[in-house]
Amino acid sequence: MRLTVILAIVGVLGVASCNRSTRSAAQGSAAPIQANVGPIPGGLEGVNARLNPYATDAVALQDGRRLFDWYNCSGCHGGHAGGGMGPSLRDETWIYGNHDSQIFDSIAQGRSKGMPAWGTKIPEDQIWQLVAYIKSMRTPEEPDPPVEPADEMVGGPGPDSPVEPSPHNP
């Protein structure tokens, strides 16, 4: 298990010159890793990670919003990604990191607790549009941000059923 992780990191770093057999990795003959490995899944400093080609492109954000419903992301993550079967994507907490490429990988490869792997179903450019939309949440650029119901019913006009006051409300 640990060996696979090492190999994966080596792969990500593009340091491919070493012999990839587990034995040589175990013997420590891999090239020294230059960048700080950091906590997993932590920063990607020094790593040549992919950036979203759409960045904050307004059309891509709109497309991402539409795709978020189209591919049923909203069913799991909430209508505006506030959470449900899957975690909130609006908040500050990122289980698998919030670098463009990490969000891309979460979507494309899936994640252990039941996040489906969409890589075979969603074209790459659409995944980037989804990444763009997700990263726009809680920013002024967020398309179709969540709205509260116009008037909550607390104290307002109610339906027909009478509601008696409770004699024993502690």
Binding site: N72, S74, H80, S112, P116, P146, E148, P159, H168
Partner: protein
């Protein structure tokens, strides 16, 4: 007393099948001391032990134990607490069998046995089933579990990844494990299985993922699947045969599970079975309800969508249907009717009848004749405006067309919300008061049908929903409902949060329940006066139980751990700035993050 009842349970469950049939069919209804005139219940009641989810087959959640009572309840205090280590919604209830208390935790569904013979009730063993972790992401409403059943020396329960398990109650070793569903198409299991004689009954969840609901019967010894009763499709699939006699014309006809759908849509027809199962040994029928039809956008599935949102009566051996009553045809609100069906024999308008009490998610309190499936009464117990009333002659609701939801526009101010006048959290009935204690909430919603694609294993939802507290300035209410008079007699309200815990009624004339803030309360069963309360660590969405310890003393146990559909907003994974989060419930639950935090405790109280 403590010896007698457990013995009876053992006889009922362990003896040979033929013998058991004889005993079960002869065991008529019983009268509890101090009952209102002519009220009788299905024997045996939970007394001393707690061997099945509701404590008794009749689902009364009434225990005759009375050493804790209205006079001494103020002496109740914490005897022990136990952590499950999983800070998610703790629904359901523990079991108590042979001086051992069994906890089924939320996912990963560990089974923890506590030794009640030793001080502090220390852990005996823990069994870890290691269910498939992918099931976490397809569980609609937190990673909950609603409990276990004991039979034949086994603890039987479901794991979230759609398996039913039997574990040796003494050793904690797995005996069998049966796949009852497939997580790859969105099927999970959260309900508590029930055992009748040599069969185990379980159902699947997944109404939000386009599953095809069913009840599954398994052999108690081996776990082998004996039959499945589907909630959509042909009569053969639904186990509908010559004995099927639904009371109302609307539920009669051939292959309604096919003809009330557009072609093929029934395959994604929903109608999951994720609630409670009752059993009447005298009539030899099991009763349970089904959930919402597949896809919340009703315009995508024209027709009555049978057998979603239906109460079934079935023969426990063959599974053959005796009657069915579809509570809501062509659901447009997600009004699953998987609620508890409470079996009570009592006078009804001058005549002694076998009743089935069903406090509905629809906000109506239904009373049915459980021999025939006739609806005798349907009255509102919380604000309701999707329908004005039920026509008892036709069994149909008089709907308010403005509140029927459609694709492309919001229907607004619908009451109750999808979460219902109450959700799955079970009520309790006391024969000594004739009152049903309903854990209710008053939440309304805006609901719009939206386009959706079926992608296996992902939500087949097709709705945009946002909920908010209903009218009247409260959101939770423990309702005491006079069954004979079909009306509310008193209630205890909660301003901010729903009442989302189960209820227990006792021979000591106490009613126990918890609040989502974490208060655990004992009320006077007659008046509703709060006689005792204790603030637990987290919000309560579990069901209280009571039992006698090896020392002969009475104890009361409850889980404290917020979560579940309405409580999920308290979990760190949910953001309150999206009212549409957690299938729209977050809109009504924003305040919960400021009132309670996730927890994972079992509390046991004694005096």
């Amino acid at each position: 007393m403590r010896i007698y009842l457990p013995t009876l349970i053992v006889i009922l469950i362990v003896q040979s099948a033929a013998m058991e049939t004889a005993i079960a069919q002869n065991s008529g209804p019983i009268t509890v001391p101090g009952s209102r005139p002519n009220i009788q219940l299905v024997a045996p009641l939970a007394s001393g032990q707690w061997t099945m989810p509701a404590g008794d087959y009749g689902n009364t959640r009434f225990s005759p134990l009375d050493s804790i009572n209205t006079r001494n309840v103020q002496n109740l205090h914490v005897v022990t607490t136990t952590s499950t280590g999983i800070p998610h919604g703790h629904e359901g209830q523990p079991l108590v069998v042979n001086n051992t208390l069994y906890i089924v935790t939320p996912f990963p569904n560990n089974l923890i046995a506590l030794d009640l013979t030793k001080p502090g009730f220390p852990q005996k063993w823990i069994f870890r089933p290691n269910p498939d972790i992918r099931s976490v992401g397809i569980a609609c409403c937190d990673i909950v579990n609603r409990g276990a059943s004991f039979a034949d020396g086994k603890i039987i329960y479901n794991t979230l990844d759609a398996h039913t398990l039997a574990v040796d109650a003494n050793t904690g070793k797995e005996i069998w494990r049966t796949a009852v569903g497939d997580i790859k198409i969105g099927e999970t299991t959260t309900m508590a299985p029930v055992v009748v004689r040599n069969m185990v009954y379980a159902g699947i969840s997944g109404g939000e993922l386009g599953v095809r609901g069913r009840l599954i019967a398994m052999d108690l010894k081996s776990g082998k699947i004996l039959w499945r009763a589907w909630n959509s499709g042909s009569d053969a699939d639904a186990l509908i045969g010559p004995n099927f006699k639904p009371f109302y014309a609307k539920d009669q006809g051939k292959d309604l599970g096919l003809s009330t759908w557009t072609p093929g849509q029934w395959k994604l027809g929903g109608g999951p079975v994720w609630g409670w199962i009752s059993y009447d040994p005298e009539l030899n029928l099991i009763y349970y309800g089904t959930g919402n039809p597949g896809v919340w956008n009703a315009d995508m599935r024209p027709g009555d969508n049978k057998w979603s949102i239906t109460i079934w009566a079935r023969d426990p051996e063959s599974g053959q249907a005796k009657w069915a009553y579809q509570v809501v045809a062509h659901d447009a609100w997600d009004y699953d009717e998987i609620m508890e069906n409470i079996l009570v024999d009592m006078p009804w308008q001058g005549r002694q009848r076998k009743l089935l009490l069903h406090p509905g998610r629809t906000g109506f309190m239904f009373v049915l004749d459980r021999e025939s499936g006739e609806v005798l009464s349907a009255e509102k117990y919380e604000p309701v405006n999707w329908a004005n009333s039920y026509n008892l002659k036709t069994g149909l609701p008089d709907e308010n067309p403005e509140k029927r939801t459609h694709a492309g526009q919001y229907a607004t101010h619908i009451c109750p919300s999808s979460t219902g006048g109450k959700d799955f959290i079970p009520s309790a009935f006391s024969p000594r008061t004739g009152l049903l204690y309903i854990p209710a909430h008053n939440t309304c919603m805006d609901y719009e049908g939206t386009a959706v694609n079926y992608i296996a294993g992902t939500p087949y939802l097709g709705a945009s929903v946002r909920m908010y507290p209903g009218p009247g300035g409260y959101q939770g209410e423990l309702v005491a409902w006079d069954v004979a008079q079909a009306k509310k007699v008193w209630s205890v309200k909660d301003i901010d949060l729903p009442v989302y815990s189960g209820v227990l009624a006792t021979g000591g004339d106490l009613v126990f329940y918890g609040t989502m803030e974490g208060w655990f309360r004992a009320l006077d069963a007659h008046t509703g006066k709060v006689l005792w309360e204790f603030k637990t660590a987290s919000g309560i969405i579990g069901d209280p139980i009571t039992f006698s310890g090896p020392d002969g003393k009475q104890y009361v146990a409850i889980y404290s751990g917020i979560g579940g559909w309405m409580g999920a907003t308290a979990l760190p994974d949910v953001s309150t700035d999206d009212p549409y989060a957690t299938l729209g419930a977050t809109g009504a639950m924003k305040k919960i993050k400021t009132l309670t935090q996730p927890g994972d405790l079992l509390y046991v109280f004694g005096y």
